[in-house]
């Protein structure tokens, strides 16, 4: 026998104070008796007995020392090496996609998968190493490879299915990477096969064994929901809903659309088998809200019976225009219905943002602007990291960045410019319009400042007369300020990250999931991000400037189609059984049990002694406390046998190490 924590034997040193306490004067209760005459014989006997005779009569000290010894042994983690049968490497991959929540098998496909995975672990020999991987948003190793089967079983018990599309190939790839080329390794994938498995290394690896869970497809689902605002009227909307019947029979069910709990439409729908139908529902609504489309049907999968969309609350962008007078800018900004414009002369502007969301500075030269969101037209303030090297006469436009949000739908080919500043950016950003000699329009992105620099005077170009001008201005404002959110950015598919810009000055935020869990969300470069979108519903992003809701929907036809498809069969026999291997078996539980038994006996004898053999509640408070402490110690030791674990929430972070093994490195 060896001891994995031999320092724990120091605990046995407590036996010395135990023995000393035994000799110390015991605190006694005062009791008056009529006469000691009748107690005389008892007193005589007790006083005459030696220490060892007393010990024989009252073995509490011996039992306490033995219990202490057993506890010290348990804490020292005794272990014996035995030959363990079944030395294998087994990886269990659990498909945690939305279709695994289907109830065609009771209680659900995922529960059955968990039970079968646990049964597999229990059948393994002592020498087998087990790993558990959950195929979620990303593959997660919930139990690393080890011979601790209890840990693997705990990981299996703690896993759950999510409202996610299938990510199984990544998980199997991860499993293969972790077991390497070991031919004895086995990868057991528990899945319903409700997807088309592509032919790949993962599917052709003979070590991968596919366990199919699931019998049928009895599901009707919403595969798409989008809401569009009517251009005719800002209060009118249209909801587009796609419904699919993945059952072998025609289904008739009720469908409802509501916004913030107010019913907008209710209708009965009949769908033939395997039929997809799109429904368009116009409605009116004033202000922001959350739209919910619901199917009232009892089918095998509930996650796709409801879909959400968020109508962003109407918000205006507060724009401050600092200009000596520019009709072009004023007119375009005034006509934008989402802009609240405030015009200032250069003398009235002292720098900074003030209460504005975006500051447009035209031809003015403030000493310093500071952090914020800006549009600089024909000016570069001194604290902006862009050098003006001179001027470019009649610049030739070489190209423009059609992919940038500011340049969306913008055609810049025939814009004529008389002259422009020759700009040399010194900080992070990208040119949006390039000419020979330098950028004409530049997008600056610093940690605390975003700006669009237009390097020419609007009065020396025909740019304001072109369609591109109001378009670029509109795109610029919405790129600089999150008020320019359209519905599409407030709705993501399950598994996709939420990434939204936040107002200037916001440095922290939280996300509340549909199940009520609140998580701190990082804000970097003016955007809040959240990746754990593994449940459908409404997520609330909270910052100092207010709350914003984002809808997460399944909207995956593959997941809604629960039909199990054929899974690859193993091509050859399983790996041969390997020879027995030495395995370390810990024995602490036995010694804890022994300590419990000894303490129980000691407690009963103590109780009997202090109650005069009557086994009644001792009258003295000290005796009662002593009895209660003994009981509490026994309960705590008994609990350790259940191997309790404290769950804790951690912020998940995936760290990938890439090791360059090329020749040049060695």
């Amino acid at each position: 026998m060896s001891f994995l924590s031999p320092l724990a034997f120091a605990l046995f040193g407590l036996s010395l104070p135990l023995v000393l306490l035994y000799f110390l004067k015991v605190r006694r209760r005062e009791k008056r008796v009529s006469s000691l005459m009748l107690w005389e014989a008892v007193l005589r006997d007790r006083e005459a007995s030696t220490f060892f005779q007393r010990l024989q009569r009252d073995p509490l000290l011996i039992l306490q020392i033995l219990a202490l010894a057993a506890l010290a042994l348990a804490l020292a983690r005794p272990a014996v090496t035995v030959l363990g049968e079944g030395a294998r490497k087994v990886v269990i991959v659990l498909d945690a996609s939305a279709s695994m929540k289907a109830r065609d098998v009771s209680p659900s496909r995922f529960d059955v998968a968990r039970a079968e995975a646990a049964a597999l672990v229990r059948r393994l020999g002592e020498a087998a190493e087990v790993m558990v991987i959950e195929a979620g948003v990303q593959p997660t190793v919930s139990a690393a490879l080890s011979r601790d089967h209890d840990r693997a079983l705990g990981a299996i018990r703690a896993s759950y299915a999510r409202d996610l599309p299938n990510r199984l190939p990544e998980a199997v790839r991860t499993a293969r990477a972790l077991v390497g080329a070991d031919p004895r390794a086995e990868i057991h994938v528990f899945t319903d096969g409700a997807y088309t498995l592509p032919k790949s290394l993962e599917t052709s690896d003979p070590r991968v064994r596919w366990v199919s869970i699931g019998r049928r497809s009895n599901n009707v689902g919403i595969t798409n929901l989008s809401v569009r605002k009517s251009y005719a009227n800002s209060f009118e909307y249209q909801a587009f809903v796609s419904l699919v019947n993945y059952t072998p029979e025609a289904q008739t069910f009720d469908f409802s659309l509501e916004v913030d709990g107010r019913s907008l439409a209710e209708k009965s729908v009949t769908l033939e088998p395997s039929v997809r139908r799109s429904v368009v529902l116009p409605f009116t609504h004033n202000g922001g809200g959350a739209v919910a489309a619901r199917l009232h049907i009892n089918d095998d999968l509930a996650s796709d019976n409801v879909a959400w969309a968020v109508l962003p609350p109407p918000r205006k962008i507060a724009v401050t225009l600092v200009s000596p007078g520019n009709l072009f800018l004023e007119k375009v900004l005034k006509t934008d219905p989402q802009v609240a414009l405030d015009v200032k002369t250069p003398d009235q502007y002292q720098g900074g943002m003030g209460d504005a969301d975006v500051v447009v500075i035209d031809t003015a030269t403030p000493a310093r602007v500071g952090a914020g969101r800006f549009v600089f037209v024909n000016t570069v303030p001194s604290d902006v990291p862009i050098e003006v090297l001179g001027r470019i006469e009649q610049p030739n436009i070489m190209d423009w960045d059609r992919n940038h949000p500011v340049m969306r739908h913008v055609e810049f080919a025939k814009v004529a410019i008389e002259d422009a500043m020759r700009l040399r950016p010194l900080s992070a950003g990208r040119p949006l319009v390039e000419a020979v000699g330098g950028p004409l329009i530049y997008a600056l992105e610093e940690p605390d400042r975003k700006a669009i620099i237009v390097g020419f005077d609007l009065f020396k170009t025909d740019f304001p007369l072109r369609v591109a001008f109001p378009l670029i201005l509109s795109n610029t404002l919405r790129w600089l300020h999150p008020a320019a959110l359209d519905q599409s950015s407030l709705q993501v598919a399950a598994g996709q990250p939420i990434l939204l810009p936040v107002a200037h000055g916001v440095t922290s935020g939280t996300v509340t999931t549909p199940s009520g869990r609140t998580v701190k969300a990082p804000i970097t470069r003016g955007a809040i991000s959240f990746t754990e979108t593994d449940e459908v519903g409404l997520y609330t992003l909270s910052t100092a400037r207010g709350d914003l809701r984002v809808a997460v929907n399944l909207m995956d036809a593959d997941e809604s189609n629960l039909e199990p498809r054929p899974l690859p069969q193993p091509s050859g026999p399983g790996p041969a059984a390997s020879a027995a291997q030495p395995v370390q078996r810990e024995l602490w539980a036995f010694f804890v049990g022994l300590a419990i038994a000894l303490l129980l006996l000691e407690g009963i004898l103590y109780w009997r002694r202090q109650s005069g053999g009557r086994m009644a509640l001792p009258s003295g408070p000290g005796d009662r406390w002593a009895l209660a402490l003994r009981g509490a110690l026994i309960v705590v030791l008994a609990l350790t046998l259940a191997r309790p674990a404290l769950p804790r929430w951690v912020d998940r972070e995936n760290v990938v190490f890439l090791l360059d093994l090329s020749d040049s490195v060695s």
Binding site: V26, R27, R28, R29, E30, K31, R32, V33, S34, S35, L36, M37, L38, W39, E40, A41, V42, L43, D45, R46, R57, D58, R608, R609, Q610, S611, G612, G613, R614, P618, S619, G620, D623
Partner: protein, 297 residues
């Protein structure tokens, strides 16, 4: 202890009415000093014939039995039983150990003494009281008559437990002092390390009719003690430390059993009336149920 005002609560009027119907019983006959209502060893002038004796000068000729003279030609006079009173001696152990219990053993003892004294006084017997501690600490000389009932109860109500026990000394002292023997009822817990036999023997030598009422508290009969204790003797104040576990309790009960058996055996051997009572028994029930037919008739 009950005060003068509390002596009224010694007994209920119903119980006192019950006591009035009782009388004292003695297994012996004693010479009384005055005419009473019980047999005397002396010959007197009652109607009950007792014996003959030869005629002596001065005898009353009315008591000559002429039939005997006709047959024997000799003069003989008839003798008749004389009726005299009984002296009841109530000895109450008032040592410190009698103060143990709630209510105390002394409380039971004085109430018992009051009940017996009441019976004696209403039956024109003489009743005397003796309070035992190291010796007879105080007493009440034998008196007769109903008029002494309340003073007797007042006297008993004021008795307090104190001092050590010396039953031998107290009884011997009492036996020596008292002029007329009679019925003596000793009420005590007998918890005297020096014993009681010598004292009781002194009473027997003076031809007292001795009854012993052995008092015990329920806690003495069946201790509810347990654990690590420091025991204090009520009388001596001695302190001893003891862990009372089941074995200690078993030993105690064995010793108690021997103590009680020994007392009973001694009394039986010396024709002493032995009456054991635990103080959770009501005095009234004890008097009516157990003493009737023995001390009371």
């Amino acid at each position: 202890m009950p005060t003068t005002t509390a002596r009224a609560s010694f007994f209920t009027p119903e119980f006192l009415a019950q006591l009035e119907r009782l009388s004292l019983l003695s297994r012996r006959t004693f010479r009384g000093s005055v005419k009473g209502e019980r047999r005397s060893p002396r010959r007197g002038h009652s109607v009950e014939f007792a014996d003959y004796r030869a005629y002596g000068h001065g005898d009353d000729l009315r008591y000559v039995d002429w039939n005997i003279y006709g047959r024997l030609d000799r003069l003989h006079v008839k003798l008749f039983v004389d009726e005299e009173d009984l002296c009841l001696h109530l000895l109450v152990d008032a040592s410190a150990s009698m103060g143990f219990g709630a209510p105390s053993k002394l409380n039971f003892a004085v109430r018992l003494a009051a009940a017996l004294g009441f019976v004696g006084l209403v039956n024109f017997e003489r009743v005397g009281l003796g309070i035992l501690r190291e010796r007879v600490a105080e007493g009440w000389p034998p008196t007769r008559g109903r008029g002494h009932v309340l003073p007797m109860m007042d006297f008993l109500a004021k008795v307090e437990p104190a001092g050590a026990t010396s039953i031998d000394e107290g009884l011997a002292n009492y036996a020596q002092r008292v002029r007329e023997p009679g019925l003596v009822v000793l009420v005590s817990d007998l918890l005297d390390p020096n014993g009681y036999e010598r004292g009781v023997r002194a009473l027997l030598e003076r031809r007292f009719d001795v009854h012993l009422v052995h008092l015990l508290d329920p806690e003495e009969m069946n201790p509810t003690l347990g654990g690590d204790l420091r025991l204090t003797d009520s009388e001596t104040g001695e302190i001893r430390e003891l862990t009372v576990d089941s074995e200690a309790l078993r030993d105690y009960r064995t010793r108690l059993h021997h103590f009680l058996e020994r007392a009973e055996a001694y009394c039986r051997a010396h024709e002493i009336g032995y009456h054991r009572v635990v103080t959770d028994t009501p005095v009234e029930a004890f008097v009516v149920a157990q003493l009737r037919g023995r001390i009371l008739g």
